[in-house]
Symmetry: D4
Subunit: 233 residues, 8 copies
């Protein structure tokens, strides 16, 4: 297996933190397409469950215009635990949040949050200062501008947190295709990457043609009347 | 109801043509994001069924690298009819295809196809010449470059076909929110437009707060110990 | 004064129609920056009042997620009349709307609406068919994608409606700087175009320097101690 | 409250420096939309006042084409102090400027300036060398090109200054929604982020519908004559 | 076969005109990536030969900085005829050029040229006036700016020429996959569209796996020593 | 010479109109880079003089923030005539302007203006209505947004004006390289297109190497001491 | 020769690692144009051979939808060695891979891989931890989004790997034009950079004109009949 | 004066190195507009002369397709010294180059070069290793792709060189507007930044209106005949 170093993820030492992925805040996001952001967050919820990574969620004033957490996170990962907070902008300022993380005994944190420069960045910087190895999942976080994301990326790297993308998180948690649950990981990837799905469909078709013969009979219908070749597929 | 003129769609006079939406061809698309294209095509399949618009599909050499039709079209619209063709690039050169359309007795065609400048444009131009009122659904078609789409848009308009987008097709087929199946149309829109979904979630939450009270109690946890406030949501 | 031809606006023959500029629908807009869209709509409301152009507004299902009309329209143009509709997607399908327009006796319509390809395009096409000269104000309308706007622009032009932008509407309604209310029109422009505001500020400063002398005394503070030169401005 | 570390902002140790936000220089800005830049600067002026952060402004040769400071800064933050300079490009070369900062006894500086690569970067680098903790607010600064901003971001980070965006500054200065003046902070945010304003309007409408009933009566006007349903809103 | 109308290409009535595709002029092109432009021109040269479409080339002052014709055109299509001109900007002003076209007896022209707004547009407009059906191949032409291409597209359409892209030309000249030389056309497409090549490679691999078994033996090397599994492929 | 048709320019029937190219208005331009716009306008001034095309300029309220005409136009084309106007937004509403054009007896107008959607579009539409053949030089005009330019392009084409770019104007006015003043036209192009200048420099160098031998002696300095090879070039 | 320091490449200490450049994975790439990526990878294969840099390739599950290695790598560099792996996501987890590298005795690694954030980044980070000097060739790697590439660039730099581009690799491996095989290196560059090829063609033409005289005789054909000047080139 | 620290430029300790700004190489540049690049290089040549900063140039194989140095550098800065090299890719490998720099006794280098990732980056990294303080002027260098520039920026920063832009170089070399030659520096800036020139023109006009009265007499020509108001300006 992977020899983990200080710049890599050890699944057994890891906690997933999904912060403020709320329907209202999503309307403010301009550095990533909304369906991509939503897919990335859902993929993280699924893969955390597969890899048995404890997952915590929270929301910022969900009663107001920020809106509710998107429901798919807890639907896809029923073991995830929601921890309300009492107004703190920085989730790390919420004692129950920090205690929940400490109670896992794990020291590597994967953090995604909306907005990136606030909800993701503040707890990430706090957690580094508290001694954690912290990964910031940039494309499962959304921000109000590309410029703000650029500066946040520089800021969190400067503070010692490690930037990463959703697909790389999947890769590090999976580690090898030579495992019993490889298909489950692949299923997450296919839902995550639309081109992957099209690739799979093309692949299956190419094999079925080799195995079962052609569907298209180019020489057959040439002079054919229309009515008999029309059929529901 | 809408007074339909020569530049508008009459649902009762309309046929939907979905041409060559195949997994392999999708890999060539560069003028629109693939998940957006796929969502748009699926929305058309659904709305055609809702509006009782006869729907025909076809594929270009699906046994080869072009790949199979994406399965969602016929899954979402089981009444859709697949009409194989015998090698013709222009679907309108396939006699059974033209006969199937003629048999409906309808004279308005909604055409989407991948690639836009070939699979959508050729039958559209042929159909105009054959006397049909033709709408080209630009964003349910995919093309190999933006430049090719720009010139295709000009070409089909010049030939007398009318460019349109998926959302506008939904609007014209729906016509009014004051109909029994308005919720079904709304469901198609929400699946189509990711920001719409987030909007709905926010709306429901705002109403539940008004109705059921706040979830966030800002004054409650201030000095609270962590353990009791953590709960699965 | 301007010799108006069939491709130009005669202010005295004109009605302004502002359709479905609602807070919820604004979240779906992706072809124009939201503050620019909002500024443009507000500028139209103001200039219609200045030019004594009757103005009608409407909203699509404002009780639901589409949200309320933005308040600035009626704040800036109290003479504007709101005409509710009973579910019609195309505002032109609402009898009171058409009657209100007919009652003005005017035959030129300036139409802006969100979403462009539906709320602006449908009534524009209907109005052309009903014999009106129609201008579609593209940048006071918002759409779900640039691609949809491109195809809508082609569609409405094909149907005989004339595309225009907000600034050009201001120019045609104003017609000359040699009028008593020229300053009021200029004030609308300055609020509309951020670079114009900065230009005006720079202009005024350049004149005040010429008139009142320099503020910066480059040779004065060279060796000066800090405390006396600090002052509230 | 937040446990501040070396990468975070302690409001009580902080000074805000707004440098050369002048109407003429604004015309040179190409890395950010002008209305966004202007809004960001105004938000900083407001939030500094709310958070009781001493604020200093200066201008570069305001008598010449660089133009005057935009007036909103001192309008929104009357306690801000303007410190003229005698030609220095780097504001830190102006003794009264440095003394004013020293006199506050605070050691954390929030710096924004136009142009970013000169007016923001030079004093930031000087201040780090002088022992201050320095935050560079990238999106309340404007630059002549994106390429120049990219290299400046790298340069100031290399020198030890911390890049940040306006929204993150608001978040760190606010720290919690559980404070008496939370509404004042929220008001600054709503003015800053146009999508936030639309979100609030939608939220209020959703609640009023729940509380007061529907405005749209879909079944009511169906056959209605136009005249009675038209009313000023 | 295709029922050709006035907006379509009849291969047997067609001439291909490739104008001023010169190495120096290529350095001025900014509306399309140079390798894409070059590939498109080469594909046209190949497909014209396949479809037996007479092809003429010319160059503008090739002795000067405009540079020589790219050599691939005549390499790939040895039957193409080069017609020098004596300084005319508009190739249609060169009598031998017009006579060569007239001598073919064909009335449909496919025109590509660099720069688009001059070398393609001028002869296209002249040819329409001379009674030809003219197609302008936008993406086998290169221009000095996108803005110039946008206005040229509008100009030539207005004058009655039909815009088209290279891939659509291939499709119309090929017409059907059910022809003896279909593989030759496919080979041109694969060289033209890089994603198509990758698609073909994936397709072949998928079939070989189905036919010949797996290459990857996931369970085999687990504990294997390195030396024996390394082999040249 | 060129057989001019209704879509082409006859230099002997042409007037050049350069409208409102003012320093202040230039600050509002966002659809084209300012140095490109400025170069294009200057090239038109030069080429009009070369081709003996009468040229008229005007300015919109040049005493105010709109600023003065850029000086290069009259510097490069001393025969150009400036016609002040008395506040009219549409230059065609200014009687002396129209009379000056009529007095030339020419019927083809080349129009460029800043802002495109107002200062270029209004007189263009008026002139078409007055019976002129009108070309709108899109890239020698500047506009406040790309969206406004897109809709203006559609609008003026719809009204019967012909869109064109600066380089195409040069090409049509020059017509052939086989004329005594070809070098003067070439000089205008080299100043206009930066890549052309670099091309010319490379060309001259390549010829001088062929003619005069190599400058670089790769085998000569290998072990050489630094001092003697350094020389001012 | 170059004095190599810790941030530079010593060709004699270097190994080239080309990881997972597979036809299927190429369909997922969105941060770089596919033909550019493919050209870059091929250029690396060629230049490694020229510079006698040992080269290893591997593939991720090539039997599945990821597809086969692109064939050009081993075609262009027959000495390259393919090392299969048994499912590991991180190639560094494959013992034979690491041993093959160790057996070269070299300590500098040039790594390119598709997808960048996984197949390139993971082994790069592992190799740095294992004591190697590692260069990550960003533009010979492809990724699923630009955002993911931005964060990966920051991540690998933070871990101590050095980012580089293909052209710079060529430059460092070549080191001087004053070497016997300089033409071979130049040939790789010309294939790599399309503008370079056009440059070479223009250069050769300019020299041939100087050497052999003009091809264009501007004064010769003026009144000429068409037939004799037409000749195959 | 400025207290220079390790991240800033001391003009008296500085040498300017302009490497390989050749007409042929300029054709390869894709990360910056060519006229902007050329203007930036010329501005550096001028400002180095003003600030008495010794300047050295060199060229890479200028006899071949790379082309000659652009002439403006030595025209604008006659004191600049050209140092030929004998084939080295990295200028630092050329002994006379290094000796020339050493002979100045200065330890701060400002480096710009085309292509950025080779001609600028290699000597910059070598010079840092040789103990110099090195600034890399990113926007006076040109590169073959944006992606290559992004990775080069990271690479040189990692090696200890400092990225900077041309305008910032001007600012640091000028240091204060309160110097006798301030106007000369300002002249360089105006030539460098097109918006600055327009700003100056507007400023001068605003002052002349204040000083000399209005040019536009809005009330004067209203009924005026055309002939007398037309005058050459």
């Amino acid at each position: 297996m992977t020899q983990v170093n200080q710049w890599m993820i050890d699944p057994d030492d890891t906690v997933m933190l999904l912060i403020d992925h709320q329907s209202g805040l999503f309307q403010l996001v301009k550095d990533i397409e909304l369906p991509v952001l939503r897919s990335n967050v859902i993929a993280l919820a699924k893969v955390a469950r597969l890899a048995k990574v404890p997952t915590f969620t929270t929301a910022s004033v969900p009663d107001g215009p920020n809106g509710p957490l998107i429901p798919e996170i807890h639907e896809q990962n029923p073991e995830a635990v929601y921890i309300p907070r009492t107004g703190q902008v920085n989730a790390w300022d919420n004692l129950p949040w920090v205690e929940a993380i400490e109670n896992t005994g794990r020291k590597t944190l994967l953090i995604a949050g909306t907005l990136t420069s606030v909800c993701m960045a503040f707890p990430a910087i706090s957690a580094v200062a508290a001694g954690y190895k912290v990964f910031c999942i940039i494309d499962a976080s959304g921000n109000h501008s590309q410029m703000a994301t650029d500066s946040t990326l520089a800021r969190i790297a400067q503070a010692g947190a490690i930037p990463i993308d959703t697909f790389a998180v999947l890769g590090e948690l999976m580690s090898t295709w030579n495992r019993p649950d490889a298909r489950d990981f692949a299923a997450v990837m296919v839902d995550l990457v639309p081109h992957y799905r099209a690739l799979m469909e093309s692949y299956d078709k190419a094999q079925s043609v080799q195995r079962d013969g052609h569907e298209t009979e180019l020489d057959k219908f040439e002079a054919g009347a229309g009515e008999e070749v029309i059929h529901a597929r």
